[in-house]
């Protein structure tokens, strides 16, 4: 081993020093959030290009897994259509790949027509939160493309989430199914207000919570919930999802229920960002 004159310290003292450092950092980051932002920007700015590169590998793997699923489906068909199989398998595989791409583009196009008044930017998802508890992801557009904190994110035919953090070439999006997320919503037919709340316990059933519906509200299962006019963060009239299982709470004042989001969060790759802030409209 190389010999070095080194200043040595008992590990427990190092632990104590670093713990104090962390606690100070926690305090600073909670108290002075703006001061931390430049540091975050530098670090995420370095990592984003790398993640972008590696993510093409990740997407390739997902593509292959999609392909495997397609093959399974085709094998089921095989038993019913023995004769046609040989030709169809080959054609199908190519067509399905193209169809998948077409679907995504068509969805984006339709969405563009549905919310025509807002200016939008398309972005690709490049990485996801490393822990499994929250549903946050990073997209490949940032302040260079005019994105700001608080902008709404759409996909498919509904609301995906909101931008909570912006670097110069990336932005973090917190989705509406995230356990810490709240959206004030409104029933499209009756204009009754409600609060849509992400809940990790319901994600597996493909649902999130709806709370605070007035007990006199004449709402039924299957009604559309859109973002509310009174929401300070979300632009009004964006489809969130469809409500179900509405029950009267034990406090006898409000009703609550479940909501199926309009967006399929499991296979999200491309999203649209509305480059207009709600605050600007006041």
């Amino acid at each position: 081993m190389r010999r070095r004159t080194r200043f040595s310290l008992e590990p427990k003292y190092i632990l104590a020093i670093c713990s104090v450092l962390c606690i100070i950092l926690i305090f600073v980051s909670v108290r002075y959030e703006d001061k931390i932002q430049p540091v975050k920007n530098v670090v995420t700015g370095v990592f984003t290009p790398m993640q972008k590169g590696i993510n093409t590998v990740g997407n390739w793997i997902t593509d292959k897994m999609e392909l495997l699923k397609n093959i399974k489906d085709l094998q089921k068909e095989n038993k019913e259509l023995q004769e046609q199989l040989a030709e169809t398998t080959y054609e199908n595989r190519i067509l399905q790949q193209e169809g998948y791409e077409l679907d995504t583009l068509r969805d984006l196009y339709e969405l563009d027509k549905r919310y025509p008044s807002y200016p939008k930017v398309a972005a690709t998802i490049i990485s996801k939160d490393t822990n499994n508890w929250y549903s946050r992801f990073v997209i490949d557009k940032g302040s260079d493309d005019g994105l700001k904190v608080g902008m709404n994110v759409l996909a498919g035919n509904g609301l995906v989430g909101i931008i909570i953090d912006v670097g110069h070439n990336n932005a973090t999006v917190r989705s509406i199914i995230d356990d810490a997320n709240n959206v004030s919503g409104m029933f499209l037919k009756t204009n009754d207000q409600c609060n849509v709340k992400g809940n990790l316990e319901l994600i597996d059933n493909g649902m999130i919570e709806v709370q605070g519906i007035d007990k006199d509200a004449k709402v039924k299962d299957g009604y559309e919930v859109v973002t509310s006019t009174i929401s300070p963060k979300y632009l009004q009239g964006i489809l969130i999802g469809y409500v179900s299982d509405i029950t009267l709470n034990s406090d006898n004042l409000t009703m609550s229920g479940y909501l199926t989001p309009a967006v399929d969060f499991s296979n999200l790759t491309t999203v649209l960002v509305i480059t207009e802030l709600k605050e600007a409209l006041y």
Binding site: L21, I36, V43, M50, I126, L200
Partner: protein, 168 residues
């Protein structure tokens, strides 16, 4: 110095893989925690001091890129690195079972404290649901990945030690 660079590169590669490729490969809605494996391996192979440094680096990286509160993960990973450093006393080069046991215990503790700090404090009381939905699947997936990853880290370590001997 070489060891420093090895850990520097390992941490970055693992972070990139964990946030991109393994998210695409997630099973049952969870992805494995590679940074935790690196921290455990550092503590187990090099002792408490290295465990602290590597844990702190991993934690702060996650904090800065994804966290709201900077320092919380740093603290958690650091404590895990430190505690695993105690196992350095029974470190034996060809033992591959001990690190797996350490990884599983560490991942459980990580999940448990994560739940306490970020979910229990927000009045999410259904612990057993989170145990079944996140903590246990993540533990199993992480342990399976750690079998491979630890072996790679271990080989790197042996090579480094050999080259260090040659220099003397």
């Amino acid at each position: 110095m070489k060891r420093f660079f090895m850990f520097f590169i390992t941490i970055i590669v693992c972070f990139l893989l964990q946030s991109t490729v393994f998210q695409a490969l997630s099973l049952a809605g969870v992805a494995p925690n590679l940074l935790l494996i690196v921290t455990v391996a550092a503590g187990y192979m090099y002792g408490r001091t290295k465990g602290i440094y590597v844990g702190l680096a991993c934690g702060l990286l996650v904090d800065i890129c994804y966290g709201d509160i900077i320092g919380l993960f740093g603290l958690m990973y650091m404590c895990i690195g430190y505690l695993n450093g105690y196992a350095h006393k029974i470190y034996f080069r060809d033992d591959y079972t001990m690190p797996i046991i350490l990884v599983s215990i560490s991942d459980f503790l990580y999940g448990f404290f994560y739940y306490v700090f970020l979910f229990l404090l927000r009045n999410r009381l259904n612990f057993f649901f989170y145990l079944r939905r996140i903590i246990l699947p993540e533990l199993i997936y992480t342990v399976v990945v750690s079998i491979v990853l630890y072996k790679i880290l271990h080989i790197l370590n042996v090579k480094l030690e050999r080259s260090a001997h040659k220099e003397v």
